[in-house]
């Protein structure tokens, strides 16, 4: 029993890390360049776009789950991919939650870079692309923070993961969904233990990201 339990815990923990990690990477890969573009370019409707992005911080996970569920359900427009109730669907749903966060935090981070630094970089003769990349590097601490907050949202997320993953044992069961299940079944001690595992795993990942954030990019 103990072996079985520890095997389950390891498997569920690894899947949690995999799903949250992939969603964070995907959400950062989309949100950070998008945020840099919005933050550094001047265009009509920029203020409105920023307000929409910040409003999306509160995007309900179940709505994100619902969108992915609709798209990939058998009758849905992308149903032929057959990814519903797989970790891939969970990653996509959580990516939708991460994108507004990484976009918004990047917008704020690049805006925080001193205007004189931006002008100095431009004055040195950078191409527009080189300018954006340099300012992004100057905003490094904020960009890692964006990824951290994105990961925090994913690892603690339950609604979308449950809706599009289905909490299938050995396949789509992650720490948060299994905690919910065990609590419902009255296994409070087990649920509490898993909660502790969740916190320890999150702390380990945040510790690594903090190291990355504080690393001096010389």
């Amino acid at each position: 029993m103990a072996l079985e339990v520890s095997y389950d815990v390891i498997q569920v923990t690894l899947l949690s890390l995999y799903v949250s990690g992939c969603a964070t990477i995907l959400g950062s890969a989309i949100g950070i360049p998008l945020g840099a573009l919005i933050g550094l370019k001047e265009f009509g409707g920029k203020g409105l776009l920023k307000t929409i992005t910040y409003t999306m911080y509160g995007f309900p996970p179940v709505v994100s789950g619902l969108a992915i569920y609709y798209l990939f359900s058998r009758a849905g427009p992308l149903g032929s991919f057959g990814i519903l109730f797989t970790p891939t669907a969970m990653i996509l749903a959580e990516t939708l939650l991460v994108i507004p966060l990484t976009t918004g935090i990047t917008i704020a981070s690049v805006a925080e870079v001193d205007r004189s630094v931006k002008e100095t970089v431009k004055s040195l003769g950078t191409t527009p692309r080189q300018s954006v990349l340099t300012v992004m590097r100057e905003a490094w601490v904020g960009l890692v923070m964006a990824a951290m907050i994105g990961f925090g949202r994913c690892i603690a997320e339950v609604g979308a993961a449950y809706m599009v993953g289905g909490n299938i044992k050995g396949e789509t069961r992650v720490l948060t969904t299994v905690i919910m299940l065990e609590t419902r079944q009255g296994h409070f001690d087990y649920a509490l233990g898993l909660g502790l595992v969740l916190i320890v795993v999150a702390m380990a990942v945040f510790f690594f990201l903090r190291l990355l954030q504080e690393k001096e990019l010389l």
Binding site: D114, S116, V117, E119, T120, V121, K122, S123, L124, G125, T126, T127, P128, Q130, T134, R137, E138, W140, E216, L217, L218
Partner: protein, 245 residues
């Protein structure tokens, strides 16, 4: 001597404020040209227009005889021929060495050339020992000298300095002025434009100078005439120290 810079009837307005009123000016190759005047007279705006960081409402900017535009696609190519140093030293959040290398990296220089040039500059700056330190740990004077080296490491034909010693102690002012003089005298094709409201600095460094007042050029003259026999009464009051601004 041919013109390094020629400005023709430059006008610039910010909402209700006219920053520049039909300013025309030339600076020759081999010349250190001073732009003097009180704060808010339009000196910095003019420099930003020369560096293509601002677009004038009307008028023409020529660099080495070629008309340039800040909104053209290859404005960055023009900026690559200009070195600019601002009042506040702006180093990037990276090592001393990589701050210097940055200006060459963006120009696509080879690794070997970058290494050679950066080593030379570090030696000149006396920062070889601290090459791997973050540039933000340097003192204000060291940072400004690093900015100077970063803006001249690619041999720009035109160097523009905006109150570049305003916040420094006399020892660092002397060091930086020496660096500018050295740079200007190394090659006859180079021109330097210095914005300052420090009359003594202008006297020490510039061959020719102009007084700007309320967005206009009041007078352009060589050093001797500017200080000893100015034509405009505002210039006379400015150089005698009677003009309080």
């Amino acid at each position: 001597m041919s013109n390094a810079i020629a400005l023709k009837e430059i006008t610039k307005r910010y909402k209700d404020v006219t920053a520049l009123r039909s300013v025309s000016l030339t600076a020759s190759k081999g010349e250190v040209f001073g732009l003097l005047g009180p704060s808010g007279s339009g000196k910095s705006t003019l420099l930003r227009i020369i560096d293509l960081l601002e677009t004038p409402d009307s008028g023409e900017v020529q660099i080495n005889g070629e008309t340039v535009h800040s909104d053209s696609k290859d404005a960055f190519q023009t900026r690559r021929r200009i070195g600019m140093i601002l009042q506040k030293p702006m180093v990037l959040n990276r090592s001393v060495e990589n701050n210097l290398a940055y200006a060459l990296l963006i120009r696509g220089w080879s690794e070997e050339e970058i290494h050679k040039r950066v080593d030379r500059e570090l030696k000149r700056l006396g920062l070889e020992e601290r090459r791997m330190k973050n540039a933000r740990t340097l003192s204000g004077g060291e940072m400004q000298r690093l900015c100077f080296a970063r803006s001249t490491i690619f041999d720009p034909a035109l160097l523009i300095l905006d109150e570049f010693t305003a916040n420094l102690d006399p020892a660092n002012v002397a060091l930086l002025e020496d660096m500018v003089r050295g740079y200007a005298s190394e090659n006859e094709d180079r021109a330097v434009i210095v914005v300052t409201h420090n009359l003594f600095q202008a006297k020490r460094m510039c061959h020719r100078m102009a007084l700007m007042w309320d967005g206009e050029i009041v007078e352009v003259a060589d050093k001797k005439r500017f200080f000893e026999a100015p034509e405009d009464e505002r210039t006379a009051a400015f150089v005698s120290g009677e003009l309080v601004y």
